[in-house]
């Protein structure tokens, strides 16, 4: 059995999107690290459109593990070469202080920055120099945020990663615009990478972050497409009659697991992206869908209603044996593994409300992470500390972040449009 892999490819041009996300932190940890990010000294003829200090403090604060020290309370605004009077910073309760400068000359951009431990009265690491081309000040800001986060928490930062999500504008039932948007992890620099008057669903990253898979319609026909981000090239993976949905890449990036109803009923299939070979994995007259790979590539987690209600099942790919995983509640679906493979996150219905829950696969302990309603599409950050999910208020869909213990919650509503179906990228470095 072979899939037709489109040879004639379409090129999708990226364009800036209006659906920019806004960040509202609704809940953090009890004792966040207090950090002062001093405005960076600017040595340039023109002005920069990015305030690095603001970008860095917002990044750190969004993790829930840091709290910014207000700029107005700072007693002095030292640069990277100035002496630091630690007692001034102790006085305003800052545990760490970041100083830096941005210079622009003929060579391009030079950024220098340092991180001071106020109570230890020393630099955490020596002043660093970064030189880049001028259009990547945001990249530099994310890089510095990652560096600070990792040296203070010991965990790799996720500020240089990216997000995919879908925005929808509805004028009437039949007149809607759907956009697939790529943005920075903080919602900045949103770009439309695909647009359609028909729904776009289930965006998924390739493990190396170079390609994305999604489901969309051409006319009235559903199909699964893989788009290369750098070139905009689009490859059709399948458009069989009926359902073509819920794609997810294998950890080696060579295969795609997805749902097809070409044999009359929604079933899970694995497609080899290189050879086009197609293997049917499930066979049941109920719904089997929303499959995703375990990090070790040995099993897939999927939703099935074979037991009357949607529940999560795990299939061992070696022998195709299936085991039910969830037993609490009458609706558990859209599961995904955490990067360490020890837990799964999924949509769990409790008291008629849909929340994101996490389950430790060994202890089977379930923790409900969110408290809004109609929460769905959980996607875990590559460092495993947080997940992004879709929820909604009275008017429109919005995105939310929650730490894996449920203690930190951040809302990311869009400025204008309804947003949903978020997918967190892997690390790019």
């Amino acid at each position: 059995m072979r899939l037709f892999i489109g040879v004639a490819m379409t090129i999708m041009m990226a364009m800036p999107a209006r659906a920019e996300l806004v960040i509202e932190i609704t809940r953090g940890i009890e004792n966040p690290i207090k950090i002062a990010v001093v405005p960076f000294r600017v040595k340039s003829t023109g002005a920069f459109d990015v305030d690095l200090a603001r970008l860095i403090e917002a990044n750190l604060e969004r993790s829930g593990q840091f709290r910014r020290v207000d700029r107005d309370t700072m007693l002095s605004l030292p640069g990277p070469d100035d002496q630091i009077f630690y007692r001034d910073w102790r006085a305003i309760d800052s545990e760490y202080t970041v100083v830096g400068s941005v210079e622009q000359d003929d060579q391009g951009l030079l950024v220098r920055y340092g991180l001071h431990n106020v109570y230890g009265e020393k630099l955490v690491f020596p002043i660093e120099r970064l030189s880049e081309s001028s259009d990547s000040l945001r990249d530099i800001g994310h890089y510095i945020s990652d560096r600070i986060y990792e040296s203070l928490t010991g965990i790799k930062g996720i500020f240089s990663t990216r997000l995919l999500y879908v925005s929808a504008e509805r004028r009437s039932e039949k007149d809607q615009t759907f956009k697939l948007i790529l943005s920075d992890a903080d919602g900045g620099r949103p770009q439309v990478i695909f647009q359609s008057s028909e729904p776009i669903l289930s965006p998924a990253w390739s493990p190396d972050g170079s390609r994305v898979a999604y489901m969309s319609f051409k006319g009235k026909r559903a199909g699964i497409y893989v788009q290369t981000l750098a070139s905009g090239e689009v490859q059709k993976v399948s458009d069989f009659p009926g359902l073509n949905s819920a794609p997810s890449f294998s950890p080696d990036g060579r295969k795609l697991v997805m749902t097809l109803s070409r044999d009359g009923n929604p079933e899970v299939y694995v497609a080899n992206l290189r050879t086009g070979e197609l293997e049917r994995m499930t066979k049941h007259f109920s719904i089997d869908t929303e499959a995703s790979w375990s990090p070790d590539g040995r099993s897939i987690l999927f939703t099935s209603s074979r037991g009357g209600k949607p529940q999560l099942y795990m299939m061992n790919l070696a022998d195709k044996t299936v085991k039910r995983v969830t037993f609490d509640g009458d609706y558990n679906s859209n599961g995904a593994f955490t990067p360490d493979g020890d837990s799964i996150v999924f949509v769990h219905r409790t008291n008629e409300r849909f929340h994101i829950a996490r389950m430790n696969l060994k202890t089977r302990e379930i923790r409900i992470l969110t408290e809004t309603d109609l929460d769905e599409s959980p996607s875990v950050a590559p460092n495993g500390t947080m997940l992004i999910y879709a929820t909604s208020d009275e008017e429109k869909g919005l995105l939310g972040l929650v730490s894996m213990d449920g203690r930190v919650r951040v809302r990311l509503p869009s400025v204008s449009e309804s947003v949903r179906e978020p997918a967190w990228s892997p690390f790019f470095n």
Binding site: F285, S286, R306, G307, G308, K309, Q311, R324, F327
Partner: protein, 244 residues
């Protein structure tokens, strides 16, 4: 002739009706109805199968959880019992070689057990394990366990409780003399023990039961006079009423 013509017309009519029937490719309305019925029935059966499957999955999961729990519980008990048996064996093994400098002391012999190797489990755990056996009504084992506890942990805060329960188990087992002796020793050794009233009521009852009415009555009376407000005083007066 007429007859033949009529017959011919009849043939024609039959043919015509055959033609009309042939226009319906899928047979009769009846067939369609039964197909529809079958379809609806299959849907229903599928739903029921799914519901049954779900129920079966849940029940077998619960069953496996329960048997895992039971196994854990058994292993835990087995381990605790093993500990106690080992402790006791150690204690017994030490005993014969013992030349106690304070052998002449009456009652307990703390120096004897002082040389028992330091046990690996805490006194609280050992006590709990022993007490668990009482709760499970394994009185012989419980007695053994309480006895070895008394020997292994002579300085434990739980020592009086262990002696108290030892007496209680003797009582349950009908070993009245040993129970009386245990409780008597307890009243002498620890007059301030928090369960002393219970000890006294039990001792009084046992004495009366074993024909020592005078001492039994005396002890019960003492409980009533010294702690008139206590629950035990009520119990004591009820015991006294029985013999009056």
């Amino acid at each position: 002739m007429r007859l033949i013509l009529t017959a011919g017309a009849a043939v024609a009519m039959t043919a015509a009706s055959l033609v009309t029937n042939a226009q319906e490719p899928y047979g009769s309305e009846f067939l369609r109805q039964s197909q529809t019925e079958l379809l609806l029935q299959i849907d229903q059966i599928r739903q029921e199968t799914q519901a049954l499957r779900g129920l079966m999955e849940e029940l077998s999961y619960q069953l496996s959880q329960m048997s895992a729990d039971q196994k854990t519980r058994y292993l835990d008990l087995d381990q605790r019992l093993g500990e106690l048996v080992r402790i006791q064996r150690d204690a017994v093994a030490v005993k014969p070689t013992q030349t106690s400098p304070s052998a002449g002391r009456g009652g307990f012999q703390p120096s004897l057990v002082a040389q028992v190797p330091v046990p690996e489990i805490s006194d609280q755990d050992a006590y709990n394990a022993a007490f668990e056996m009482i709760r499970e009504r394994k009185f012989d084992e419980a007695l053994l366990a309480m006895e070895s506890f008394v020997q292994v942990y002579p300085n434990s805060e739980l020592i009086l409780d262990a002696r108290f329960w030892r007496g209680q188990v003797f009582d349950v087992l009908g070993r009245d003399q040993e129970a009386i002796e245990t409780f008597k020793n307890l009243t002498l050794a620890a007059p301030d023990y928090r369960r002393i009233l219970q000890v006294k009521v039990k001792l009084g009852k046992l004495l009366i039961k074993n024909q020592d009415v005078i001492n039994g009555r005396k002890i019960l009376q003492e409980v009533i006079t010294k702690s008139p407000e206590s629950v035990e005083a009520g119990l004591a007066s009820r015991e006294l009423e029985k013999i009056n």
